[in-house]
């Protein structure tokens, strides 16, 4: 996918001015936060479950080579094929090769962030194959040719009016008096259109929430059931998964699923949880004739053993963005690439380079809310700080920032000089604000004063006052 991450600030500016987006964000945010809070409240052992989740993932990552091999062996024993893809290019080529070999004309797709990472729709279209999104959110985004703005609710940024407008434009057979008032109306219309596509598809592509080493299975969760139809109706099922989706056992997967649903949507369990293991066996009622897993690395294995390894625990629940005050203001598109919010701020620089995505880990107040809700306890702020350190080492930090820091550092390291400079600074500012206690404008502080006043100092610094007080006390004693 093409990235606009370098333009984060401009993107954010547009997002803040976008009335529709702001409306959608205001509506959706409390919904997600409230439901998660309720779910957590309802499960007293949730904190312990978070530790278990973290430990399962840490153990898996520490032994990733072993589990990947075990898993791949089991996939093959069940009649499936694993395509090891080091890069996004490799993965695109592998998907296309399968589709072309089986003569696919249309491909149905379940929701998959890896497919966004690969920009697989564009790639298939360029080769004459029609991809059809079957997740409701993804379906409308395909109509609108927009990327998702959220990792579990891709059309997070749209309002009901937008849905209706897109449907009326694309579904030209719609009766003018057809009402779209509720989500159900939208779902019914999409389902009617999608039914024929499901049956006509030659290949079904899904993502994977987890890969299970002991059985060679892939797991997906949905609330619409579209994933099931995508993977059971066509002859060929392709799973797009990245290496960190691995868990050792079925039991581990169950623990992770309990965490995932609560953290994501506040459900005890998602409506549909589907395990796929290999191809249809004799006597099976359904299942594909071919089962392929596109196993993508795309820079992830390079995170192992580094300060970014913990990020590979991520189970893509979206709790971090649902609770992020910055995401809550700018929405997902401002981040400029596939993964928004705090998890994107850590992951995106790994995948497309910190020179491209440097703004993302900087655009955080380190409020720590994300880490406090992350089901696998990823220290997201700490990792954003690591990116800032890498930027600083590589001299990617803007030169004005570096100069200011160096100047401030020079004084801060010399308490005597620092006292002297702050005494003057506090005095001048205090004097400037002596009438109102604040300033509405100040040169070089335009960023601050555009939207707020600058309260001015009392006038004398603490250390100046403290010193004279000590002198006075000594004089008195």
């Amino acid at each position: 996918m093409f990235s606009t991450s370098p333009a984060f600030k401009e993107n954010a500016h547009k997002a803040i001015a976008d009335v529709g987006l702001q409306k959608a964000l205001t509506r959706t945010k409390p919904h997600f936060q409230g439901r998660r809070a309720k779910a957590v409240e309802g499960l007293p052992e949730f904190e312990r479950l978070r530790d278990i989740g973290r430990d399962i993932k840490n153990h898996t990552l520490a032994n990733l080579d072993f589990y990947l091999e075990t898993w791949a062996g089991n996939v093959e024993r069940a009649g499936g094929q694993v395509h090891w893809c080091a890069t996004a290019d490799d993965a695109r080529a592998a998907v296309l090769a399968i589709c072309e070999r089986v003569g696919a004309k249309t491909v149905t797709k379940g929701k998959s962030m890896i497919s966004e990472e690969l920009a697989i729709n564009e790639h298939l279209e360029q080769h004459g194959i029609t991809p059809v999104e079957t997740d409701l959110g993804e379906y409308i985004l395909q109509l609108r040719r927009e990327p998702p703005s959220h990792i579990i609710a891709p059309a997070f940024h749209l309002n009901r009016e937008d849905w209706e407008e897109s449907f009326r434009r694309a579904h030209t057979d719609l009766a003018p008096d057809r009402v779209f008032r509720e989500r159900r109306d939208i779902l019914t219309e999409a389902r009617a259109k999608l039914r024929a596509r499901f049956l006509a598809a030659d290949v079904g592509i899904t993502g994977a929430n987890f890969l299970i080493a002991e059985t060679g299975s892939s797991v997906i969760v949905t609330n619409e059931g579209n994933g099931d139809l995508t993977q059971t109706l066509p002859r060929v099922h392709i799973v797009l998964a990245s290496i960190e989706k691995m868990v050792p056992t079925l039991e581990d997967a169950t623990n992770m699923l309990r965490l995932l649903a609560r953290s994501a949507t506040g459900q005890d369990f998602s409506v549909y949880t589907t395990f796929s293991t290999g191809v249809r066996r004799e006597g099976d009622l359904d299942g594909p004739e071919e089962y392929h897993v596109i196993l993508l690395d795309n820079g992830r294995s390079a995170m192992l053993g580094t300060e970014f390894q913990d990020m590979l625990r991520c189970i893509r629940c979206a709790a971090c963005m649902n609770h992020c005050p910055v995401y809550g203001v700018v929405g997902g598109h401002a981040y400029g690439w596939v993964y928004p919010g705090p998890m994107g701020a850590v992951l995106t620089p790994t995948l497309i380079g910190v020179d491209q995505a440097g703004n993302l880990p900087n655009a955080s107040t380190f409020c720590g809310k994300c880490e406090s809700v992350c089901p696998v306890k990823i220290p997201l702020p700490k990792m954003m700080r690591h990116w800032r350190e890498r930027e600083f080492e590589r001299h990617l930090t803007p030169s004005a920032v570096r100069t200011n820091l160096a100047l401030w550092g020079f004084f801060a390291r010399r308490p005597g000089l620092y006292r002297f400079a702050t005494r003057i600074g506090a005095g001048v500012l205090g004097w400037l604000g002596r009438k109102r206690g604040r300033l509405s404008r100040l040169p070089f502080a335009g960023g601050w004063t555009a939207g707020r006043d600058l309260p001015t100092p009392e006038g004398k610094t603490f250390f100046a006052r403290y010193a004279s007080e000590q002198r006075r006390q000594r004089g008195a004693s």
């Binding site: 803040i16 655009a363 107040t365 409020c367 820091l405 601050w448 939207g451 603490f462 006052r465």
Partner: protein, 254 residues
């Protein structure tokens, strides 16, 4: 065992030094009332967060080393800020990962470092502070104090003990958008965040906004005053120490 009169070093913080010395004096008064011997080491400037959070570990380490020097010999180090307190308690040791000696010293310091209000209640066992006050306040839970140091109930308990009524915001825990250098690097986002915050403050109906971090307070006061709000803004220590007469509210003239 808690010593009868522990020696406490006050880490003033650069913002209090520069902007609102009264908070420092309020901290001294509260600590002395609680029975501490308070000293203010002279060789202190800043906890290093501006550098640390900008990725400049070198300056952060230099400042960290001088903090270890200046604050080494005390029973406790107390900070009238959750943010700087969190820096010393949780982040300072990680600056010395490659130096076991300094790392051990930093860990020892971290263990003895506390945010002011939680120190009074959790370490000194204070149930109430001296004095009485009236009126309604709303309390903003600054992020680091809340999430890194667990400061939440302590200030509310002491404020209620003074006779103040607490009118909670709908979401007192959401970030105000200050974020240190964030507010100047991303002013538009920061302004939107603080505007959401001030809407919540206004809706609470409280006369006064309190918090334990001067950075957040300057941010919220700046926005409230820009909006023409009459809500008064103060550091919690000023109120607890009964020193509201010593200085006008933040962003107002005396």
């Amino acid at each position: 065992m808690l010593q009868a009169s522990p020696r406490v070093a006050l880490f003033v913080t650069c913002l209090v030094d520069l902007h609102r010395p009264t908070v420092g004096f309020a901290a001294i008064r509260l600590l002395e009332q609680a029975g501490c011997q308070v000293e203010v080491p002279r060789a202190q400037t800043c906890c290093g967060q501006p550098a640390y959070n900008s990725g400049d570990r070198e300056i952060a380490r230099d400042l960290g080393r001088s903090i270890l020097e200046a604050f080494g010999g005390y029973d406790y180090v107390v900070v009238p800020s959750g943010s700087c307190g969190g820096m010393l308690r949780h982040h300072l040791p990680t600056l010395f990962d490659d130096d076991p000696n300094l790392r051990a010293r930093a860990e020892a310091l971290a263990e003895r470092t506390h945010e002011l209000v939680s120190f009074l209640t959790d370490v000194m066992g204070l149930e109430r502070v001296a004095g009485a006050a009236s009126g309604s306040v709303t309390y903003h839970d600054s992020c680091s104090g809340l999430r890194e140091l667990g400061v939440k109930a302590q200030p509310r308990r002491l404020l209620e003990g003074l006779g103040l009524t607490i009118k909670e915001m709908a979401d007192p825990e959401v970030c105000c958008g200050f974020g240190g250098t964030f507010c100047v690097k991303y002013p538009e986002i920061s302004t939107r965040m603080v505007a959401d915050k001030t809407a919540d403050i206004t809706a609470s109906g409280a006369e006064t906004l309190l918090a334990g971090d001067l950075g957040c307070l300057l941010n919220m006061a700046g926005r409230l005053k820009r909006e023409g709000s009459a809500v008064k803004v103060r550091h919690v220590a000023e109120v607890l120490a009964g020193m509201t007469g010593a200085v006008p509210p933040i962003g107002e003239a005396g």
